[in-house]
């Protein structure tokens, strides 16, 4: 490539980055500005006001929201890894008609929008007495992310785990449980990391299930807390911006540290699938 073309394209990339960064920039100028400061949102304040952050944390009860979001995300992600990998194993290994049908079923479910079954699902949850519990948020997120998890695990098992290894272990007398958890599961580490990352982001950000099933303020997650907080503070966007920034920060930090895995996980999962 000629050096001039290279520089033109590099500048273009920089401009695109700047445009994409605008919303985050506005979020920051809004969050760090005093409520009485009516200067343009394009200008960064020459002071940094942390008052919004303390105020928002207190008033929106973010401690409670963070705890709930963490419990639900960790709970659902662990269930996904455990039961998802377990389910994918026979579906990837044993080619029977039943298995093919079940696998097809899981794939088809990926298309069904969780909201389409809102009415009966809500009714079911009420009947089970699970409304306003962490359990229901965990179970719903688990169920709705399960098809993709199984799909990714099955693809990975088929393409990378040698069958001979399992046969050798069987001949040595290993039972299914030992075989799977001691030999196969450790080899699934790369795809487990991918699933853990994608599903955590998805569950952490979930709003749909959370507003239906977590109506009591003691079980509100970050997204629900934030939507209520926005409703109450339409005239004080600085406060909302501070809360939004704090709610997004954990994922942003995780992302910046695990960027490589994010990107490679997403592309390998998508391309293999």
């Amino acid at each position: 490539m000629k050096t001039t073309t290279k520089w033109v394209l590099s500048i273009l990339a920089l401009i695109i980055s700047l445009i994409h960064f605008v919303p985050f920039y506005i979020l920051m100028t809004t969050a760090f500005k005093d409520r009485t400061d009516f200067s343009s949102r394009w200008l960064f304040p020459d002071y940094l006001s942390f008052a919004n952050f303390f105020d928002a944390w207190e008033r929106a009860n973010l401690t409670n929201a963070f705890m709930n979001s963490i419990i639900i995300t960790v709970g659902a992600a662990l269930l996904l890894i455990f039961f998802g990998s377990m389910a994918a194993y026979p579906l990837a290994r044993v080619k029977s008609r039943v298995n093919q049908f079940i696998f097809g079923l899981f794939v088809a479910i990926m298309v069904i929008p969780p909201l389409a079954a809102l009415v009966p699902l809500y009714n079911l949850v009420v009947q089970m007495g699970l409304i306003n519990t962490h359990a229901i948020a965990i179970l719903n997120n688990f169920a709705s992310f399960l098809p993709l998890t199984i799909f990714l695990y099955a693809g990975f098992i088929k393409s990378t785990i040698p069958k001979e290894l399992e046969e050798a272990a069987r001949i040595d007398g290993a039972g299914t449980v030992t075989l799977f958890f001691r030999i196969v599961f450790p080899l699934l580490k790369p795809i487990t990391a991918t699933i853990l990352i994608i599903s955590s982001v998805y569950i952490w950000n979930d709003y749909q299930f959370a507003i239906f099933f977590l109506q009591d303020s003691s079980v509100h997650t970050l997204t629900v807390t934030l939507s209520n907080f926005f409703g109450e503070n339409q005239n004080n966007l600085n406060l909302v911006a501070a809360a939004a920034l704090m709610a997004s920060l954990p994922m942003i930090i995780v992302f910046l540290f695990l960027q490589k895995h994010f990107v490679s996980g997403l592309s390998s999962g998508a391309v293999k699938g």
Binding site: S40, P113, N123, T176, I252
Partner: protein, 307 residues
Amino acid sequence: MSELIDKQKATISKKRRKISKEESSLWWMYIPALTAVSLFIIYPFLNGIQISFTDWNGFSQESNWVGLDQYKRLFSDPLTWLVVRNTLLYGVGSTFLQLTVGLVYALLLNRSIKFKALTRTIIYLPVIISPLIMGYIWVFFFAYQGGALNDIVMWLGFDPINALGNPSVNPWIIVLVNTYQFVGISMIIYLAGLQGISKDYYEAADIDGASAFQQFKKITLPLLMPSITINVVLNLIGGLKLFDVIVSLTGGGPGNASQSMSTFMYTLYFRREDAGYAATQGVLMTFMILAISLVALVYFKRKEVEA
């Protein structure tokens, strides 16, 4: 000697048989997953079809079988057409934008330029933000009073714009915000596809004197077809399901102007106690998304074969 071999063969086949027997007994491993999916997805979905034939209000014990009444209502309700139109706009509009913009970004970032890692990180960053929060961030930008956009508009001497309150504009803003948030995924999938194309093709084309555009059309695009298929299906499903960002950006308003099928269903059930009708909308939505994704999948898969 041959006797010994036969004996060995017999033990091996016995072991083989034992293995395949053990393998076919693995079905219990997917029972927990199947139970969860049946209970929380398949059963509610089927139950929803049943509810769509009733006038259930969502909380009382009683409901009446009304046959196809809700479906008649569905097809004569002017709001149905509005929300279907919006849903299609969100689905197809975002898909089109993400496909093209994502491709441009991927082609750019596939070259050896400066700021590559930085650009990729910034484009991908919104993917991890909650769509609900993303909506609020854009409210800070588009807000009528004190929004960042109007700072510029007023500085230029114009009257402030109420973009989010304008029913002919705000569905498009929703499309843009959704595209902005998820274009990073399209870009990454394209980049993975681009990296899988062998350089030999381009070298051969160079020798034959093919122009850059010809190379793009005859080599890059056909070989990217699998990535395009994935992107189309992912973006369609995502866009047609859109919910959070609509809630936070416009609340579905003004009136019902920017409602999608998901937000409309939510309103019907929780605000209007019209569960039977909400379930009917849900059935329509499921079949619509299934049909559209399936048609798109088959169409683009066929193109892959032709390439």
